[in-house]
Amino acid sequence: MKRPDWQLSRNGLFWVLFAFAAVILLHLDHLPPWVTALAGLCILWRVLEYRGRVSFPPWPLKAVLVIGSVAGLTLVYPSLLGLEPMLSMLIAGFGLKLLEMHHKRDAFALVYLAFFTAAVDCIFTQEIPNFILVLVTFVIAATALVSINQSKSRGFSMSPSYTALKMMATAIPLMLALFLVVPRLGAFWSIPMPKNQAQTGVGDTLSPGDISSLVGSDKLAFRVRFDGDVPARERLYWRGLVFSQFDGREWRQADFYGPDQPILSRGSDESIVRLGEPISYSLTMEPTNRRWLFALSTPTSSEPGIQRIRDSRLVSVDRIEQRQNFTIRSWLDYRLEPEGLHPYREEMERHLPPGSNPETMRVARKWASETPDVEALIARVLQLFNRSFIYTLEPPLLGTHAVDEFLWETRRGFCGHFAGSFAFFMRAAGYPARVVGGYLGGEVHPSENFVTVRQYDAHAWAEVWIAEKGWVRIDPTAAVAPERIEMSLADLFDNEDGFLADSPLSLIRFRDFEFVNWIVLQRDYLDYAWATWVLGYDQRQAEFLKRLLGQVSMFRLILLFLVAAGISLLPYLVKWLIIRQRVKLDPRDAMIQIFCAKMARAGMPRRTGEGIFDFACRIAAERPQLENEAMAIATTYINQRYDKRFPQQINELRRMVRRFNAPKRFE
């Protein structure tokens, strides 16, 4: 038998369309434009159909649309198995299904699809604002769910959204309990991640202008929370890459057996002398789609999937495609490979392409013979930098012999220029030297032992190998602009055009105002908490549950759920208790109840469904002696209750009912 509720209500139709539109807006960036257009067309068609302007499309047209969309998707995407083709397929299917949505069960399927596709958005971005949009879409979809269960006759109304919000709010404590407790299994199989993600941050080659292009961005690079105090700012060299090969123009990573391969990681341990106590901290990397981590030297980590390679850096086995947390320990005082380099390494770290930058080669050889002590030579070069060089975000362009031009002609440059030409000079003088890329400093949050490093903190410096001391960090930028080391770039280049060129409205531009500064700090902290407590919760679940429950036992877990359910239902419990205490009755109805109770005691109860006037008539028939009083009470009540023309005076009714006295019938 067909139930009378199988048809879709008008309001239900509206909210389903609304939910679908919200989903499309959410995924606007991830869909080919023609899929969006198709979906919009389907919505429009459905609306017109509802208003009676067009009819449902005939089946050949629907068939053409289905075949056309599948064909289109196969053309756009090389394989239909990825996330984006799947998403496009779902959205296109969603739209086409709209064109044949007649029944409640179709609407249910579409609402479920809306929930699913909205959740998929979290794979693309995990930022807070985005998540809020997803939640809003969920509320709309839940509203659609409620509205399709409402009576058909209702027109458009917002009322189902109140019900949906009420249900959502009630669900939240339980959701949190589930989120905290339910164990996470690892991925069943690996799925291709969305492809649109460009590699960001410091790259694996370094040419003179590279770093200054990063300075245009205030995007987050990574965040660090120290277990103890934050070390002094000039020690915060976040070492990410080591460039040992120079081709005359660009510095590259040494290709031992492919860059970043964790080779010789065991043997290299003996070549590090660690001094003093380590500091430990947790690093939250933003996705870079690259392997290397940024850490203070010399780092170790026991995280699975993280390995240390020979130049004392940490590298992840998998690319960092999502925000990820790492626990790291670093010894800030160290000797790296102090006992000498293997001859092939020494050769590599001193190699220069023949014929490159002849002027620098000549000067370097000359200075090396004049100043045989390496440290004195370094001091002499740095002094040169200090005396006649300018640190700027907008250096002039350089030609073929970039180092020559920079050192002896333009003399204006950014950290990449200084680090690169310094390393070149030292190699030309015959010493092993290399360029190191990473970030410097970051923003230290006063109260939280917590540092935020942004793209504009990108930096390059040099390392020179000195006998018995090993690799020594030399930052030529410090010689030119010592203030760069002590303050952030934001303070240094506040008014220069290149700084934050890509983010004209960045709040960081206005940090001179205390209030804006406060907002920036709070936003950073919120972002950090979000990253560690929500996005990275699976990594700290066991520890947190232990702290929350004392001991993770079945009993305590059940208790946690009961507490959550209690919090959910608390408002209803309170309401229920209050209702039980006082049922608010209209005073006139209350009077009539007293009257009926008196009659019931007299052996003549009012029947179910019997109107008060009928009751009075019956009294008049069965107990003629009560006729006058009963009729008077009934008419007064009716006038007071239903006739607006009568003045509202319940006192009269009250007086009559009080005085009324029905004797038991004597038979």
């Binding site: 009378p4 998540f131 009630t170 669900a171 959701m175 996005l535 699976d538 209702i579």
Partner: protein, 332 residues
């Protein structure tokens, strides 16, 4: 019949028996957790599949946000137990009145739904077994009166069987329902069975019949109004009671007394006899005759009019049935 459906039928029968045992006849019922059943609906199982799909997505992409959304939906499912239950919980349902009908016709049963506070209870589905379902929405505080049609399958006191009250509001993920067994004082008359052949046989048997000339002064009874009859003879009182349009018949009571007699129908089983007698009563009433009813052990003196008709039919309906409702067997 394949064995699976046999098992299903057996299970269904056991379930009905269990429900019948649990659901005693009552005169009023208050819906609370003790008598409301609640289980996921078909859409609810679909929703759980959606939660499963999100969980798979979250696990495979190791995405805690999707986990959160997945748990939000699961929690939504759990709390909707409370909300769906609330759609029916706290309702008081009372039978108000029911119409007496012939067996096989649907009886209109009026029920009152009352709630203490105004609360929107949408899409409450009411249905007697085998009857037309009815969808109502209750909004205001106090009584709401609803008329449901109940099919009748046996004569006697009206016993429409279990009334199913159910709803899936608000989320549609769960279905809350209850069974109520109401008894009514109304009677289900036997289904009339035409007995025209026998009647014509009996025409000349000496029983009186009235002259049938209208215009006479003596009021004989009512008959259905036919177009063209004098409006002065319309029975306005009955019309005002919405009992249909009748015209008063006036005639000379020669000797128009007829007996509808049990003993005349010998050689048939009880139900057959009662059905034919019911037809006879209707015929006599329609013809405006003065008729009496003889049943074993009871006799209704000849009379006419609506009240008489009703008491005659009621006697036929309740023949052989004690007050507690030991129902007669169904007609084979």
């Amino acid at each position: 019949m394949n064995p699976l459906s046999a098992v299903r039928q057996a299970l269904r029968r056991r379930y009905r028996q269990w429900i019948d045992r649990r659901t005693q006849p009552e005169s009023e019922c208050y819906l609370n957790h003790r008598r409301l059943y609640i289980l996921p609906s078909k859409a609810g199982f679909g929703f759980l599949a959606l939660v499963g799909a999100l969980w798979w997505l979250a696990t495979n992409f190791e995405n805690n946000l999707i986990f959160m959304l997945c748990f939000l939906l699961l929690a939504l499912f759990v709390v909707s137990i409370h909300f769906t239950h609330g759609t029916l919980s706290g309702l008081r349902i009372k039978p108000v009145r029911a119409q007496s009908v012939f067996k096989g016709d649907a009886a209109a049963v009026e029920l009152s739904f009352s709630q203490v506070r105004a609360r929107c209870r949408e899409q409450v589905l009411l249905r007697f077994a085998g009857g037309e379902p009815l969808m109502v929405t209750l909004e205001k505080a106090g009584d709401t009166f609803v008329t449901v049609l109940a099919p009748t399958t046996r004569r006697g006191f009206l016993d429409p069987g279990l009334l199913t009250v159910e709803s899936v509001y608000p989320a549609g993920l769960l279905r809350v329902w209850t069974y109520i067994h109401f008894r009514f004082d109304a009677a289900v008359y036997p289904a009339p069975l035409s007995d025209r052949a026998r009647t014509s046989d009996r025409r000349g048997s000496g029983e009186g019949h009235y002259s049938g000339t209208s215009g006479s002064e003596d009021y004989v009874g009512l008959k259905t109004f036919e177009a063209g009859e004098s409006l002065r003879h319309v029975a306005w009182k009955q019309y005002a009671r919405e009992q249909g349009l009748w015209s008063k018949q006036y005639g000379d009571p020669v000797d128009s007394r007829v007996w509808v007699d049990w003993d005349e129908y010998a050689g048939m089983d009880t139900e057959q006899r009662l059905s034919r007698m019911t037809w006879q009563v209707c015929e006599c009433d329609a013809a405006g005759k003065v008729y009496g009813l003889r049943l074993p052990g009871t006799e209704l003196l000849p009379n006419q009019g609506l009240a008489h008709r009703q008491s005659a039919l009621r006697r036929l309906a309740l023949f052989g049935i004690d007050d507690e409702g030991g129902a007669a067997d169904e007609t084979p």
